[in-house]
Symmetry: C2
Subunit: 409 residues, 2 copies
C-alpha cells in the first residue's frame, strides 16, 4: 500500500487499444492496494500532427499559441484513460496542468516547473481516486497554458512524485529497462536491475534515449526513486536511485555511444591565455553545442586544440573555426565527421584504478586507434573512427564482463 506515480509515454497510449491495455495495468496495480497518480503523454504521432497544423499557419508559430495547441494532445489521452478506468469500476479523475495547477515560468514551449498545487490531489487520493494527469503542461502566473518541451511528461511525473512524496516514480515505455549497452549492437547486452542517477545521466546524455535528462536530474535532486519499465511486457525494469554506500557496485554499469558527432582540430595554436575562448566563443555564439574538448600542449610552445560538435553542425563549425584560426596564426584546421564516441559509465570506477588503461588495452587489442580521450569521475569516453563502433562496443562489453556480471538484487 504505497503511493506510486506512473508515467506512460506516447507509444504506450498510441491507440485506443493500447489505452485499454494501460487501463488494465493500472487496474492491476490498483487491485494491489496502491494509491496511484498516472501521468500521460499524447498519443504517439499526435504532437507531430499538431505541429504540422501549426506550420500550415505560420513558419514560426507564436510560442504562446503553440502551447495552447500542443497541450490538447495530453488532454485527449487523460480523458480517454479515465473513461476506460471508470468502465472498469475504478474511480478516476483527470487533471490538466492548469487544473492542478502545475505552475511554471512563462518560457513557452520549454517552461520549467516552479510549484505544484498538491493539496487538491492529496484530498482526492485520500478519497480513493486514481488521478490521471496530463504530462508536459502547466500554467504560468497569468494562467497562460505552457508546455515543458518534448519529453516533458517524464518531468511532470517526477515533479508530482516529489511533491506527493511517492515511494516510486515508474516510467513505462517501449523498452523494458536500461541496458548495459544497445542490444542492437551487442545482443548479449543485459538489462540492469539498478543504476544510480549519475550513471543514468551519463548513459542518457550519451545516447541511451530511455529517459529525459531533465527528469533524471530532477529525480536525483529530490531523491525520487525512478523505475523504467515496459508497458508491453511484465518485468521489474531498471530502478534508478541514489548510490547506497553499502552497495557492492560493479565497476562498469554500461557502455554508451553516439554516432552523430564530428571533431574539429586546430593545430599549432600559439599557447597563450584565452586561446580556448577565442576558438570556442564564435562557435557557441552561433548556437552550436560543443561536447568534448581536449587540449594538448605541444613541444614548440604551440598547442593542439580539439573539440566535438553534433554532426549536423559540422560544416558550419568548420567555417567558423577556419575564420577565427586565421586571426590566431594557427598552423592548420582539420576536421573529421566520420567519428563516433564510446563511453564506459559506472560509479564503481571512482574507487578503482586501472579502468582507463584496461579500456585502452581492450581497444588496442582489436586494432582500434583512439583519436581522442576525455574522462570524468564516472565516465571515460574515447573517440574512434566510425567503422569501429560495433567492434569497440562489443569488445568493451565482453572485456568488462558486462554480459556475465551477477548484479546485487
Amino acid at each position: 500500500m504505497a503511493l506510486i506515480v506512473q508515467k506512460y509515454g506516447g507509444t504506450s497510449v498510441g491507440t485506443t487499444e493500447r489505452i485499454q491495455h494501460v487501463a488494465d495495468k493500472v487496474a492491476r496495480y490498483r487491485a494491489q492496494g496502491h494509491d496511484l497518480v498516472v501521468v500521460l503523454s499524447a498519443m504517439s504521432g499526435e504532437t507531430d500532427r499538431l505541429l504540422g497544423l501549426a506550420r500550415d499557419m505560420a513558419p514560426r508559430p507564436d510560442p504562446r499559441e503553440l502551447d495552447v495547441l500542443l497541450s490538447t494532445g495530453e488532454q485527449v489521452t487523460i480523458a480517454l484513460l479515465c473513461m476506460a478506468l471508470k468502465e472498469r469500476g475504478i474511480d478516476a479523475r483527470s487533471y490538466t496542468g492548469p487544473q492542478i495547477p502545475i505552475r511554471t515560468d512563462s518560457a513557452f514551449n520549454k517552461a520549467r516547473i516552479q510549484s505544484i498545487g498538491g493539496a487538491g490531489l492529496r484530498d482526492e487520493l485520500a478519497g480513493g481516486k486514481v488521478l490521471v494527469v496530463a504530462g508536459f503542461q502547466g500554467v504560468d502566473e497569468e494562467d497562460n497554458i505552457t508546455t515543458l518541451g518534448r519529453g516533458g511528461s517524464d518531468t511532470t511525473a517526477v515533479a508530482l512524485a516529489a511533491e506527493l512524496n511517492a515511494s516510486e516514480c515508474q516510467i513505462f515505455t517501449d523498452v523494458d529497462g536500461v541496458y548495459t549497452t544497445d542490444p542492437r549492437i551487442e545482443p548479449r547486452a543485459r538489462r540492469l536491475s539498478r543504476i544510480t542517477f549519475e550513471e543514468m545521466l551519463e548513459m542518457a546524455s550519451l545516447g541511451s534515449k530511455v529517459l529525459q535528462i531533465r527528469s533524471v536530474e530532477f529525480a536525483g535532486k529530490f531523491n525520487v526513486p525512478l523505475r523504467v519499465l515496459s508497458t508491453f511486457e511484465d518485468g521489474e525494469g531498471t530502478l534508478i536511485t541514489l548510490e547506497e554506500p553499502t552497495m557492492e557496485k560493479p565497476l562498469i554499469s554500461g557502455i554508451a555511444f553516439t554516432r552523430d558527432e564530428a571533431k574539429l582540430t586546430v593545430l599549432g595554436v600559439p599557447d597563450r591565455p584565452g586561446i580556448a575562448a577565442h576558438i570556442l566563443g564564435p562557435v557557441s555564439a552561433a548556437n552550436i553545442e560543443v561536447d568534448m574538448i581536449v587540449q594538448n600542449i605541444g613541444q614548440d610552445g604551440s598547442t593542439d586544440f580539439t573539440f566535438t560538435v553534433h554532426r549536423n553542425d559540422y560544416e558550419r563549425a568548420l567555417e567558423i573555426v577556419r575564420a577565427s584560426a586565421g586571426n590566431m596564426e594557427a598552423r592548420e584546421v582539420s576536421g573529421d565527421a566520420r567519428i563516433v564516441k564510446i563511453s564506459l559509465v559506472g560509479v564503481g570506477m571512482r574507487s578503482h584504478a586501472g579502468i582507463a588503461s584496461k579500456m585502452f588495452q581492450i581497444l588496442a587489442s582489436e586494432g582500434i586507434n583512439i583519436r581522442m580521450i576525455s574522462t570524468s569521475e564516472i565516465k571515460i569516453s574515447v573517440v574512434v573512427d566510425e567503422k569501429y563502433l560495433e567492434l569497440g562496443v562489443r569488445a568493451l562489453h565482453e572485456g568488462f564482463g558486462l554480459d556475465t556480471v551477477t548484479e546485487e538484487a
Copy 2:
C-alpha cells in the same frame, strides 16, 4: 468602429486553408477599425473523431471526461487562428472557456452558461487585441471543464456579445443567410435580409438548421442583434433582431418543414378530464418528445386525440399508447409515420386575418389533404402526407408571393 463578436462554425475552420481564409476575413474587419471577439468551433469532423475515440473506451463514456476530451477541439482552432493572425501582424490572443472564465452549471455535455468574466476581455480589447475564444466550452464552480452541447459555440458567441455589449453578433456559416424556404425544395427561395427572433425560433425549430435555437432565444432575451453570414461568399446575410413597431412587415417570412415526424391517433377516447395526461404521461416518461398535439371533441361524448413525435420514436410511442389505450376504453389507436409538417411563419400574420384560410385553399387547390392543423401567434403548421412535401412547400411559397416580395431594407 464598433465591437463585433464573430463566430465561425466547423466547416468554416475545417482545414488549415480555411482557417487562413478566416484570418483574412478577420484582418479585413480589423482594418475597418472594429474591435473583434472571434468565437470558433472545432474543425468539422473533429468532434466526431473525438467521440469515436471515446466510444472505443466505453459504450457510455463518463460525462465529465467526455467534456475534457471534446473541449480540445476548439482549443486547437483558437490556437491555429491566433498563429495565422499574428502572422498577419495582428495582435491576437486565444482564450479557452476556463481562461475567461465562462462559468456554467455542472451539467456535463449540456451545461448552461451562468456568467462570463468579462473584465479581462475588456482590458485586452482596450489594449487593441483581437480576442479568439473557444466556443462550446466553459468551466463549473469547481473548475471542471464543461461543454454546452452540440452547436454550443453559437451560444458562446451570443453570450459574449451580451456580456460585452457588442453592437452585433455575426454567425459565419456555410449558408449565406436565412431563406424563405429550403432552396433545395424551392429554387426560387429568397434570402431574407431581416427576420425577428420569434420568426427565427419558429424557422429553426421547424427545420431550417441555420442556428441553434438556444442561441436565438438567448440573443432575443438580451436583445443582441444576430447576423447570419456566409464564410465563403461576401454578402449582408440575414439580420435577426427584435421586431420594430415601425417596420412594415411582410405577412409571411418563410416556410419551414420537417420530414422526420410521425403521428399517432387515439380514436374514441371517453371525453373526461385528465385524458390527455393519461395518454401523454407514459410517452414523456419514456423520454419521447411530443411536438404537435390536437384534440377534437366528438359527437358521442368521446374524443379523438392526435399527436406527433420524432419518426425515430414512432414504434416505441405506438407501443406505449396501445398499452395505455386499453385502460381507457379507447376505440382504436392508429398511426402514420409517412407524414411531414409544413409551417408558415411570420410575425405579420398576427395582425392579418385570413392567412390560415388562404393556406388551406392553396393546399386544397393542389389536391393536398390536410391531416392535422396547429396554430400559434406567428405560425400555422399542417401535417400532410409525405409525398406532398415538395408540392406543398412550392405552392405556398408562390401563393404567398415569397419569391417576389420586396423587403424593407
